[in-house]
């Protein structure tokens, strides 16, 4: 037992090692370097942020000049380079961070800035939408139109035949009414129709009642037009960076304004909304983006976000149980938040939805001493079965309602 365990852990270590070294390797990729270090102050062709737009910068300045500036702009300025001083003056005398990159990293970065990838995303999404094809309602509509046409054609043919036979003709509506009457004249048909209507009404009622309090797709407007797509998607910020208490607490935690300021002390202008939305953070915390200082004695105002996922008070839910112990990804419940400009509730968040997951999810017991002895006994008891959450009492009332 111990042997396998240590073998496992060794394997695990190797896996980690490779992932880690791959990351290191990827660091030499210019794009990575740019995204990690530069993107908070610069764009390439996206306009001026804190620092200048870097589109065509490699053409404007030679590589040596850029290297000196990037490695330590303050030293460079001190050396008396006229261009460097001019830029420093232009940008409110805010010195750029000194990076001191390795030569090979610097080359990769400059190569990236020279040939930035062309933004193709927009095009791609449009084609993707076209590929989706027709929605089911459109199909239904087309079928309905087709059927109506069919009835119309058949009625016309029938009328033509009747004119030939000198019989009185019927209009389309008369035909429908007469046929309907004939159909309903049979009591068996009435029963069938009545039953069908009853079923439909019941189904509708049931669905409506079951939908009470279910707020899937709830997508309220927030006080700040914060885009998860830009932060978590495009910039790849880990969810737990802002929602840090998800790992340790029952709440995932809405980040406090000081967490926003970790980045937005420097990033004063956003991709979608410019300075307007970011200014709201500054208004809350009391920050002057021009002088880059916190205002003394400012009366801070909390940001009143609209809560999207509202569990009722009688249901106890703990994020850390699911994130830290259960090792679930945030997206498994919250959907692809990294693709949402405005976040919406993706899942049902009903008790049935919770329970269903508890029935299907296997408990991740390996490597956690809490479970060790329990696991032994459970393996015996549920020989050959998966040990899912419900086998550990995950369906019991008292585990969530107290």
């Amino acid at each position: 037992m111990i042997r396998t365990y240590s073998l496992n852990s060794r394997l695990l270590f190797l896996t980690f090692f490779f992932t880690f070294s791959l990351n290191l390797f990827a660091q030499t990729d210019g794009e990575q370097i740019f995204k990690t270090n530069c993107i908070s102050c610069h764009t390439i062709g996206g306009g001026r942020l804190i620092g200048p737009d870097l589109e065509g910068v490699t053409a404007k300045r030679n590589a040596d000049w850029l290297k000196q500036w990037i490695n330590s702009s303050s030293d460079f300025i001190a050396s008396g380079d006229a261009d460097a001083i001019a830029i420093f003056e232009e940008y409110n005398k805010v010195a750029m961070t000194s990076f001191y990159f390795e030569d090979e990293d610097m080359d990769a970065l400059l190569a990236y800035m020279e040939n930035p990838p062309i933004e193709e995303k927009e095009v791609a999404t449009t084609t993707a939408e076209n590929d989706k094809g027709m929605s089911s309602s459109t199909i239904l509509l087309l079928i309905a139109v087709f059927l109506f046409l069919l009835v119309y054609i058949l009625t016309s043919i029938k009328n033509k035949l009747k004119t030939q036979l000198n019989q009185p003709t019927e209009t389309l509506s008369e035909t429908i009414i007469n046929q309907g009457k004939a159909f309903l004249a049979e009591s068996r048909n009435v029963a069938i129709v009545g039953f069908a209507v009853f079923i439909i009404v019941m189904k509708f009622t049931f669905d409506t009642l079951m939908g009470v309090g279910v707020t899937t797709n709830y997508q309220p407007e927030q006080p700040i037009a914060f885009s998860h797509k830009i932060h978590a998607g495009d910039n790849g910020i880990d969810c737990n960076y802002c929602h840090s208490s998800a790992r340790s607490s029952k709440t995932s935690g809405i980040p406090s304004a000081n967490v926003c300021m970790n980045c937005h002390a420097n990033i004063t202008s956003g991709t979608n909304t410019g300075t307007a939305e970011i200014q709201k953070i500054y208004d809350a915390i009391g920050y002057d983006p021009d002088t880059r200082t916190y205002i003394e004695g400012y009366e801070q105002q909390p940001i009143k976000w609209v809560r999207i996922h509202n569990l009722p008070d009688f249901a106890y839910f703990n994020h850390s149980q699911h994130v830290t112990v259960g090792k679930l990804e945030c997206q498994e419940c919250h959907g692809p938040v990294q693709e949402m400009d405005v976040v919406k509730q993706e899942s049902l968040m009903t008790m049935g939805w919770c329970i269903n997951c508890h029935r299907e999810t296997e408990v991740k017991m390996e490597g956690n001493d809490y479970y060790t002895s329990m696991h032994e006994k459970m393996k015996e008891k549920y020989a050959g079965q998966k040990i899912t959450v419900d086998k550990m009492g995950g369906l019991e009332c008292g585990k969530c309602h107290y």
């Binding site: 309220p220 980040p255 000081n258 809350a284 809560r307 809490y370 550990m392 009332c397 008292g398 107290y402």
Partner: protein, 984 residues
């Protein structure tokens, strides 16, 4: 034949009582309060017609339906700048010190998002009042603003005026007096010295509401030190207490823990405990031998005991005790509650003769918890009345309420030029003073304490001041032109690691104590006299103490462990005395208890219409009443409850029976077990011979021979073999009935307070109750021997003995494996968990109450009303401040649902989660319920029986372990340990 038969509904009908005829006409016995629930007088004068009404009704229903379609928008408001140590949803714990002038404890405070919500023990045990003190923090009746002459003002004005006046007094050479509770804070003592230095003629007088002055004086006379000894009950083999309630209210909450350490039956040795008292105290109810005396006999008996130990003949009542003491010299303790220095000198002499000093009690390592001086207080009142005091500053005291000579004090107050009260409340005393300065609660304050020699505990704020209060120390500093008590406090202890000490809440440091001289006093001698007449004695209730926290609804609703009554104080009286006076207690139709009332006069003070509670165990010819009640300026919930026994003082009473009935709110109406084995008990000698003694299994005769209940069953055994199996063991030998667990449960589980009227209707909501049973003179064995008929036997069994043996039994939901409640719930709102608990899903409950009716333990509680946000239940849950004490992890139950003990499932889930996150097993010490963590004597032990590192596993296998109402085969997860008494 049958026509001739007539059935009477009761004696009243047989006697042709006119009330019967009247009742027969009415369908409902009590008038239905239609006016109350439809009660708007404007309705009868309104011009709205029925038609209009229906129109409005239809419209508003439609409007409400439409409005309901809109989902309410919930806001999530994060911190702007999150404090580093706070993670929303995760509790923080801070070590601090609880001291309110009466109770002292080193405690651990649980805070959530910056709000203290629960008190746990840190370095010392807690009692009910200490546990409840967290609610007193959120009391909206606290003094919120500085007041001048009853009008709100602000600090700058107050300070400026006070400083000017103090300086005037200083220049005029006037005398300033500071009257405070016992000060155990060395830095405060230092500050008072600074204040004295600044203003010259300053005198500091300390007073205790319940005075220990006699004992302090006696120690000064006997040993030359005016301090109290520290006691070590754990080292004693014979404990003799003359009236001292050391398990409940006497001195220090830690003694209970020591006491049970000395009385562990599994070690084969239990300290023998004698209690000599008149009123039945909590300590007396735990004694092996209890001797009933009149208070006037105390001095004589002590004198007799002293002479017996020195070769004289002992009084027959105490001969055995004297013998035991003599045989355990150096291993015994004699304590006494008397406030008479001469009597206490006798006690000192006895302990000295026995060589107990520095063995079981120590004066060289003294306790500083009580330093009040009655002589100085009297002198101060005299000086005040003589106009010799120019300014009086009070701190943490309520002399107008607690002093016997309150009138003298009040009169003297009028002759003092400048009177300043620093107080949490605008109480009886503060309201009479010129300035009332709001003090901070201990949870809002910095501070230190020196409870005994060399031991220091620190106080740190766990919340910003809720109101515009300022702690006394800070005020003193401001008045001498300084500020920042926090730094001052730190500078007091420059040699310690400050951060570590604040973190731990305590530190030890060498401290020089006054030199104790050898016993020199002349031993007074008293004759054993038995005075005629009824003697009155004050006592403290475990819930109310000296009444400091009278406005705390948890404490008001905490049933007294002995009388089981709450929201009241009353005269306790023995059945024999009551019979002589023609006083009775009786139960009315709904079971509630009523009693007669009397006028009582003691020391020239009369209290009118005081109810009498017949209390088994009360000595004949004596009566007693609890202090702490009869407050008039405590706040909305403590005012006007009971009578002020402080005003009477001990002494001979004159009783006059008056008409009228008094309605008590008692939570237990039965006194005895009626011969059933609810609490199993045996004696130490029998237990040593046979560990199963007193705990023989119930068996049923079957075709397979006699079988225990769990073998005769329809149920399939619940499989608890995998995962946790949470169990609880309650040792009835260690349970002293102190009720700390009840308050701890209140705080942890958001248990509502329902008020006296509802308790009277048996609708109290406590999840844990402490049943108290008295022994009866009649037993089944006796009835067989004396051939008493069954009817007579049961009738006599109902009557408790005059000096009964008492047992306490905490009962909460037993979490049965074969739970009777689960099978009858029509909506499956209560169900069994695989970890041994019986779950209760409030949101599923529809309130049929079948479960409560089917529960043999009667532990389920029904929410007859909405107890939160309801003006009819104007307690902490109907108050914005009071609600801050609620535990955010536990639902506040709404009207119409059943609730009960959950075995603190929120705590279990939390420790499990913490263990999972840490990748470790759940540790025994972490697995605690609110009751088990609060228990000062470790009588309640909780843990996982499937884990062999948990103590509970061994406890379940003990010979003493038994399950309550075992014959029903409910197979509870809670089990009890037989009570063992150390008597023949």
């Amino acid at each position: 034949m049958t026509k001739a038969k007539k059935y009477w509904k009761g004696l009243a009908e047989l006697n042709n009582d006119p009330i019967v005829e009247k009742l027969r006409q009415n369908e409902f016995v009590e008038e239905i309060p239609v006016d109350e629930f439809l009660g708007d007088k404007e309705l009868s004068t309104t011009s709205t017609s029925r038609r209009d009404f229906l129109k409005f009704l239809g419209f508003s229903t439609a409007a409400a339906t439409l409005a309901a379609c809109e989902t309410p928008i919930n806001k999530a408001i994060p911190y702007v700048i999150k404090p580093e140590e706070i993670t929303p949803g995760v509790a923080n714990y801070y070590a601090t010190t609880m001291y309110d002038g009466h109770d002292y404890a080193s405690v651990l405070v649980k805070t959530r998002e910056g709000r203290p919500i629960k008190i746990d023990a840190n370095k010392s045990a807690t009692n009910a009042r200490i546990q409840a003190s967290v609610l007193s923090l959120y009391d909206s009746s606290r003094l919120k603003n500085p007041m001048k002459g009853g009008v709100d003002t602000d600090w700058s004005t107050t300070d400026a005026e006070i400083i000017v006046k103090l300086n005037e007094i200083k220049s005029g050479g006037g005398k300033i007096a500071i009257l405070s509770s016992t000060i155990i804070s060395p830095s405060t003592t230092q500050l008072i010295a600074d204040f004295s230095a600044a203003y010259g003629n300053v005198t500091h007088v300390q007073m205790d509401a319940v005075s220990y002055s006699g004992m302090l004086d006696a120690n000064e006379a006997s040993f030359g030190v005016r301090v109290l000894p520290t006691y070590h009950f754990d080292k004693a083999e014979v404990i003799v207490s003359f009236g001292a309630d050391f398990l409940g209210n006497w001195l220090n909450a830690d003694y209970a823990k020591q006491y049970v350490t000395a009385r562990n039956p599994n070690s084969g040795k239990m300290a023998k405990h004698y209690q000599v008292e008149s009123a039945l105290s909590l300590t007396g109810s735990n004694a092996d031998d209890r001797i009933q005396i009149k208070p006037s006999e105390q001095a004589g008996l002590l004198s007799n005991l002293y002479s017996a130990l020195n070769g004289g003949t002992a009084d027959s009542r105490i001969a055995k005790m004297a013998n035991d003491l003599a045989n355990n010299a150096g291993k015994s303790i004699v304590v006494c509650n008397s406030n008479d220095a001469e009597v206490q000198t006798l006690v000192n002499a006895i302990n000295n003769t026995l060589g107990n000093y520095e063995n079981t009690l120590s004066l060289s390592n003294p306790s500083y918890l009580r330093q009040g001086n009655d002589t100085e207080v009297s002198a101060l009142i005299e000086e005040m009345n003589a106009g010799k005091i120019a300014a009086l500053i009070t701190y943490n005291v309520n002399p107008s309420y607690t002093l016997l000579d309150a009138d003298g004090y009040n009169a003297g107050l009028k002759k003092v030029g400048l009177t300043i009260a620093t107080s949490l409340y605008n109480d009886e005393s503060a309201a009479k003073m010129m300035y009332a300065c709001p003090d901070n609660h201990y949870l809002e304050s910095w501070g230190d304490a020196n409870p005994s020699n060399g031991v220091y505990t620190l106080m740190q704020p766990t919340i910003s001041p809720l109101f515009k209060g300022r702690q006394f120390q800070e005020s003193l500093m401001v008045w001498v032109g300084k500020s920042d008590y926090h730094t001052y406090l730190q500078n007091t202890y420059s040699s310690i690691d400050w951060n570590k000490s604040v973190h731990d809440g305590y530190f030890t440091q060498n401290q020089s104590a006054a030199t104790v001289s050898s016993f020199t006093a002349s031993v007074p001698s008293f004759d054993v006299v038995k005075a005629d007449g009824i003697e009155f004695e004050m006592y403290e209730k475990i819930s109310m103490g000296d009444g400091t926290q009278a406005n705390n609804p948890w404490l008001q609703e905490l049933p007294d462990p002995l009388s089981r009554a709450c929201w009241d104080n009353y005269l306790t009286m023995s059945a024999a005395t009551a019979r002589d006076l023609g006083i009775t207690n009786w139960n009315v139709s709904n079971g509630a208890l009523n009693g007669n009332m009397v006028n009582i006069t003691v020391n020239g003070t009369t209290l009118n219409n005081v109810p009498v509670m017949i209390q088994p165990g009360q000595a004949v010819g004596t009566i007693a009443m609890a202090v702490g009640y009869g407050r008039t300026a405590a706040g909305k919930c403590g005012d006007g409850i009971g009578f002020n026994a402080f005003a009477l003082g001990n002494g001979t009473a004159t009783i006059e029976v008056v008409g009228g009935e008094y309605e008590f709110a008692a939570t237990q109406l039965h006194h005895t077990m009626m011969g059933r084995e609810i609490v199993k008990e045996t004696t130490l000698a029998d237990f040593i011979k046979d560990p199963y003694s007193g705990n023989h299994q119930v068996t049923y005769a079957t075709h397979n021979g006699k079988q225990p209940a769990d073998k005769v069953t329809l149920w399939d055994k619940f499989d608890h073999s995998t995962g946790h199996f949470w169990n609880m063991s309650i040792d009835l030998t260690s349970c002293i009935g102190c009720s700390a667990c009840v308050i701890s449960c209140h705080a942890e589980n958001n248990v509502p307070v329902v008020g006296k009227e509802e308790v009277r209707k048996s609708r109290d909501m406590h999840w844990i109750r402490i049943d108290r049973y008295f022994s009866s003179d009649m037993t089944k064995e006796l009835s067989e021997a004396e051939k008493v008929s069954a009817i007579d036997m049961y009738a006599e069994m109902e009557e408790p003995s005059a000096n009964p043996e008492t047992v306490f039994q905490p009962v909460m939901c037993q979490h049965c494996s074969n739970a009777p409640c689960e099978t009858v719930c029509p909506v499956a709102a209560t169900s069994h968990g695989n970890e041994g608990q019986n779950h209760m899903a409030y949101n599923r409950c529809v309130g049929t109450r079948y479960c409560a009716n089917n529960c043999p333990y009667k532990v389920r509680r029904f929410n007859w009303f909405q107890y939160s946000d309801n003006d009819k239940f104007d307690f902490n849950m109907n108050d914005d401040h009071g609600k801050m004490v609620l535990n955010p992890d536990v639902v506040v139950r709404s009207r119409g649902v059943m609730e009960k003990c959950s075995m603190c499932i929120q705590k279990i889930q939390e420790v499990k989660l913490d263990a999972k996150k840490a990748g470790k097993k759940v540790r025994d010490e972490d697995a605690q319920t609110a009751c088990s963590s609060a228990c000062p004597t470790n009588a309640i032990v909780f843990g996982d029986v499937n884990d062999d590192t948990h103590k509970i596993q061994a406890l379940k296998k003990e010979e003493r372990a038994y399950k309550l109402l075992e014959h029903l085969n409910t197979d509870p997860s809670v089990f009890y340990q037989t009570k063992i008494r150390n008597k023949a």
